[in-house]
Symmetry: C2
C-alpha cells in the first residue's frame, strides 16, 4: 500500500479537528484513495497549550520550517493564517522543496497564488486551497472539475457567514447592528476582532481566487470593496418596504470582454434565491455556458466544514493527481482587462437625511439631473418632532461614477444632517 | 502532447451537441487537461438523417460495436440509452476490451452498475456517469471528491425536471394536470411518452445511483416508487391551504443502520428551500458529517447541461485519473440492510371524498383508531349540490404500513365516492 506522510502546521480549532479526523478515518480514506495518509509531524505556536488531541512526542517539530526539509514529509498542511510572516515562509519553502501543500489561507492565496502556483508547477507538486473559499462548499473543485466545460460569465454570492448572520438577524430579530454583532460574538459567529468580515476584505480575497478560476486569468488587485459597517436598521427596513433584502455580495463578471470584481452591500429582490439565505450559510451562484445557472450552498466556516474541504484536497493528493493549481498552467493563464466599477451601470438606493425646509428637494433633484441620473422612485418622510426628513431615492440604471459624484456633491450641502447612503441594487 | 481517441455512439440532441462542443473547445480542454481529445469515430442508428454536425466520412463506423474493437479508440461515449439492448452490449464490450466509458445512461448504471464497475476495475479503465444523474448538476463528482470526507446520513431532492415543471405549473398557473402536461410537451419539457418521468422510475434510477455513492453500498432494488399521475389540482390547493407545496422527491437515508430508498409525491413546508424550486430545475440536498447540510442546484436535463456533465467526465479521463466508479473498489463496497418503508414512520395527508350522510365520519375515525393512527387535523367540507363531502386528514407520525392498511380498509367502504389519496409529509 502506498502511503503519504503529512505534516500539519497550526493546531487551532481547525488543525485539531483535522488531526482527529485523519486519525479516525484512516481506513475509509485509504480504501477510497488507494493510499494511506499518515500524520507524521505537527507544529504549532504554543507547544504547552492544552489541546483536545493526542500527539506523540516524536510527532512534534521544534521548528515548523523543519517540515519543509524532512525527507519523510510529502504533504504540508498550512493552517497558520495570514498573507505574510510564517504562513508565507512555510508555503514558499514547502513548494520549493517539492512538498505538496494544502492550505485554508485565502489571504495568502489571493496575494501570492500566482507566484506559488508557478513554483508548484515547476516542481510538479500540488498546491490545493479548497478550504480557503467558503469552507465546506466544494466550489473550487466544482469550478476546476465538475463545471470544467463551462465558459463562465458571472459568479456571485454570499461568501462571508459573519456578515450575513448580522444582516439577516438585524432583519429578522429587529435589532441594531451593535446588538446583533455582540450576539454574534457570544455565539462564536464573529471573532473578537471581526473587522475583515465586516469591511469586506475577507470576501475580497475569496472573490479574487474564484474570479481567477472562473475566467482563467491571473489574480488581480483591481477590485471594489465596501463592507457592511455603515448599514443600519433603517436601511434594512427601507429595503423591506421596497421589496428588497440587503446582502453583502461578492461579484465577478465578464462584460464586453472586461472583468469587474466588486464586493458591496446589495439590494436584491426579496423573492430571489440569495435573499432567502439566512444566518452563517454561504452560497455561490455561477452562470456558465453550456450548463446554465448552478448554485452551491453550504456551511461557510468552522472546523467541521473546513475539514471537509481540507480532506477533499488531501484525498486528491492521496490519489496522486498532480494538477495546475489554477486549472491552467501559469503560462496559459490569461491577462484580461479588469475594469474599475466607475464605468459600470447600476440602479441604486440613496438615502438622505435632510433639514425639513423649502428648496431642499428641488436642489437634490437638480443635482440628480446635472449628473444625468434619472429617478425611478422617491419617498420623502418627515421624522416626528425632529425637523428633519428622510428622502429615499431609487434610481434608474446609471453610471457608478455619476452616482458617486452626485453623492459627493450632495454630501457637502448644509441641509444634509447625516452622511448620505448609496447601496447598489442587483436586478439580476 | 498526449492524446485520447474518442468514439461517440448515439447522435441525438445530446450526442450532436457534444460532438460540436468537443470540436469547438479542443484548445482549452487540452490546456486544462494536458491531453488532446480527438473525436475519432461516431455511430448512430440512422446514418442518413440530417444532423447539425459535420462528420467526415472516415469518422462513421458501419457497426457501432466496432468502436469496442479498434485499437485507435481509448474512450467510448455511450449516448444510446436504455438498460438493455445495444447500450448494454456496447458498454459491457467496451469495458471488457479495456476502453474507458462515459455514459449518460441512468437506467443502465442503476441496473448493471455493480457488474460494470467490476469489469472496469479489473481492466483499470474508467466508467464515468456524471451525466446520468441530474444533468448539469455536478452531484456525482461532488460526492466522490468535493464531499469525500463526509459520512452522509441523508440525500434527497428534486431529480426530475418534467414532473417538477408539471407540479409547479399546476400550482402557479392554476391549471389541471392534463393542461400542464400538454403545455410541457409543446415546450419540450416533456417527451411524447413521458411515463418514466411521471411514474417515478426516472427518479428511481437516479436515486439508486446516488444512494450507493452516499453510503458506499452496492446498488439495491429495494426502493419504494410512486409517481405524480394521481395528483390533481385539488390536492395542490389543499396543500397550499395547509402551508405546504407538493413535490416529487427522492430520498435515500440511513436510519439506525438501515437504508430507506423512496420516491413519492411529498408535502413540504412552503417556506422550505425545496418548496421554492420551480420549473425544470433539479436540486440535491445532502446531510453529511463534518460538512453539515450542502445543496447543489442546477439545470437537470437538455443537451447543454448534459454536455457540461459529459465533459467533466471526459476531462477526468483526459487527465489520466483512473478511479473506482463507485468511490470504493467492488470488494470494499458494503452490503447494507435496505428496509422496506412499511417500517418507517410518516405524517401523512389523506383525502377522502365521501357520501354526505350520517355515520361516515365516525366510521372513518374509528378505523383510524383501530390502526393506531392519530389525527392531528381534520377538515370536512361539503361539495355544493353534490351530496358528497371532502374529508382531509393530517396525521401524526404513524407507521407507513398502518397508513396503507387503513387506506385499504376505508377504500372498500361504500360511502367512498372516489379513490382516496395518501401523500406523505416531510417535516424535515
Amino acid at each position: 500500500m502506498r502511503k503519504l506522510n503529512i505534516a500539519i502546521i497550526g493546531l487551532g480549532n481547525i488543525g485539531s479537528y483535522l488531526f482527529n479526523y485523519l486519525n479516525e478515518n484512516k481506513k475509509i480514506l485509504t480504501e477510497k484513495n488507494n493510499c494511506l495518509p499518515v500524520v507524521k509531524y505537527v507544529s504549532a505556536k504554543n507547544k504547552g497549550r492544552k489541546r483536545k488531541i493526542k500527539i506523540n512526542k516524536d510527532q512534534w517539530l521544534n521548528n515548523y520550517l523543519d517540515a519543509t526539509k524532512k525527507n519523510d514529509v510529502d504533504l504540508i498542511i498550512e493552517l497558520i493564517g495570514g498573507a505574510e510572516g510564517p504562513a508565507k515562509k512555510l508555503v514558499f519553502n514547502a513548494l520549493k522543496n517539492k512538498k505538496h501543500v494544502v492550505t485554508a489561507n485565502k489571504a495568502l492565496i489571493a496575494k501570492y497564488g500566482d507566484q506559488l502556483s508557478k513554483i508548484a508547477e515547476k516542481n510538479k507538486v500540488n498546491l490545493e486551497f479548497e478550504a480557503s473559499v467558503c469552507g465546506g462548499v466544494p466550489i473550487i473543485r466544482s469550478l476546476k472539475e465538475g463545471l470544467i466545460a463551462n465558459k463562465i460569465s458571472k459568479i456571485y454570492g454570499i461568501f462571508n457567514g459573519t456578515s450575513n448572520y448580522i444582516l439577516s438577524s438585524m432583519d429578522k430579530e429587529n435589532k441594531s447592528f451593535e446588538e446583533v454583532l455582540s450576539n454574534a460574538k457570544i455565539l462564536g459567529y464573529a471573532e473578537s476582532n471581526p473587522s475583515s468580515d465586516l469591511n469586506g476584505s475577507d470576501v475580497s480575497s475569496k472573490l479574487k481566487i474564484l474570479c481567477s478560476l472562473c475566467f482563467n486569468s491571473y489574480l488581480n488587485e483591481n477590485i471594489y470593496v465596501e463592507g457592511i459597517n455603515d448599514i443600519d436598521k433603517t436601511d434594512i427596513d427601507n429595503a423591506n418596504k421596497l421589496g428588497y433584502k440587503i446582502k453583502l455580495l461578492g461579484f465577478a463578471e465578464l462584460i464586453n470582454n472586461k472583468i469587474y470584481q466588486r464586493v458591496h452591500p446589495t439590494l436584491i429582490k426579496k423573492n430571489s434565491y440569495v435573499a432567502g439565505i439566512d444566518g452563517v450559510l454561504n452560497a455561490v451562484i455561477i452562470d456558465g455556458k453550456p450548463v446554465g445557472q448552478s448554485i452551491i450552498q453550504g456551511e461557510g466556516a468552522g472546523p467541521a466544514p473546513t475539514t471537509s474541504a481540507l480532506i477533499s484536497d488531501i484525498s486528491s493528493i492521496l490519489r496522486g493527481n498532480v494538477k495546475f493549481p489554477f486549472s491552467l498552467s501559469s503560462k496559459e493563464r490569461k491577462n484580461l482587462i479588469f475594469q474599475n466599477i466607475k464605468e459600470r451601470f447600476f440602479s441604486a438606493y440613496l438615502r438622505f437625511e435632510v433639514a425639513d425646509k423649502p428648496g431642499v428637494l428641488s436642489n437634490i433633484t437638480n443635482i440628480f439631473s446635472k449628473y444625468k441620473v434619472s429617478i425611478k422612485r422617491l419617498i420623502q418622510n418627515p421624522y416626528k418632532n425632529k425637523k428633519i426628513s428622510s428622502i429615499i431615492i431609487i434610481t434608474h440604471s446609471s453610471k457608478d461614477h455619476s452616482l458617486k459624484k452626485l453623492l459627493k456633491e450632495i454630501s457637502k450641502k448644509n441641509y444634509i444632517k447625516r452622511k448620505p447612503k448609496l447601496i447598489r441594487i442587483d436586478n439580476g
